[in-house]
């Protein structure tokens, strides 16, 4: 199965997991408490996120903490860059159209 950033965020539960651990580290239990689905289901999603390289795990005392790897998320940002370029070009053409309208 495909394991990359797009696979990771294709699922709504996984997106929600990321949004929880993007700001603060959470233990598997605290994280599972945020969802109505079973702990097993949550940990399955965590495993996928981990396989996609989106989660880093830290041990603090006896507790495990998960934190989102924001660098990986940034890869999506970079990916969308051509889309931004597309809009810049399109809007430059629109500027021309508007200039012509004005001079009429």
């Amino acid at each position: 199965m495909r394991r990359d950033i797009f696979q990771a965020i294709a699922d709504p539960t996984r997106r929600a997991i990321i949004s929880f651990i993007v700001t603060e580290p959470m233990t598997p239990n605290t994280l599972a408490d945020q969802f109505d689905i079973s702990r097993q289901a949550v940990s399955k999603h965590i495993r996928i996120l981990d396989e996609c390289g989106l989660i880093s795990t830290t041990l603090m005392g006896r507790e495990r903490y998960y934190l989102a790897r924001t660098k990986k998320l940034k890869a999506v940002d970079d990916w969308i860059e051509p889309f931004r370029k597309l809009w810049e070009d399109k809007y430059e053409s629109l500027d021309h159209v508007l200039k012509q309208l004005k001079s009429k």
């Binding site: 294709a10 949004s19 070009d89 399109k90 629109l94 159209v97 508007l98 309208l101």
Partner: protein, 168 residues
């Protein structure tokens, strides 16, 4: 007014949304016309060197804009926008998708849900485009397409240039 030309591009990938904000140095009625009249749309809608060619436009909720993206080698992609709401000159929304030559939806291609808001700011107009996708992968597909088209076109221009050079 160069400062008004900065593109604000918000990528909310987690919520499958892209928001594009830009100010235009023109009154709102001009900007509205450029977004809704086919003769004007055809002049800017397609990313260069593609051209948009309108077949028909019916600007009202339930109406559609049928158009084709025509490439530099005259290859055509049919597209349509189904308008869901139209509130001139403030906003409109609709679904944009690729079609077969009979303007039936190409099921393999993603739909983009558009909402465009026009706001008059002194002599300029602020345009906010919100594009929502059904799936995160759709953003990937659309981005790849735009990128590929641009790239293919650039290669086409290169071919032309090389041919010119060869004929010198």
């Amino acid at each position: 007014m160069e400062t008004t030309k900065n593109l604000e591009f918000i990528k909310d990938v987690v919520n499958k949304k892209i928001i594009v904000i830009r100010h235009f140095d023109a009154p709102v009625d001009h900007v509205w016309r450029a977004w809704t009249e086919s003769e004007l749309l055809d002049q800017w809608w397609a990313p260069k060197p593609w051209k948009a060619e309108t077949k028909s436009i019916d600007l009202r909720a339930g109406g559609s804009w049928l158009y084709a993206m025509v490439g530099p080698d005259n290859e055509k992609h049919s597209c349509r926008v189904d308008y869901k709401s139209v509130d001139a000159p403030k906003s409109f929304s609709g679904d944009d998708y690729f079609c077969d030559e009979n303007f039936k939806k190409n099921a393999e291609m993603p739909t983009m849900h558009w909402r465009v808001d026009f706001q008059s700011v002194e002599e300029t107009t602020k345009v906010t485009v919100t594009i929502t996708f059904d799936k995160v992968e759709d953003i990937e597909t659309i981005t790849k397409m735009g990128f590929q088209e641009g790239f293919t076109a650039a290669l086409g221009n290169l071919d032309e240039l090389l041919l010119e050079e060869a004929n010198k």
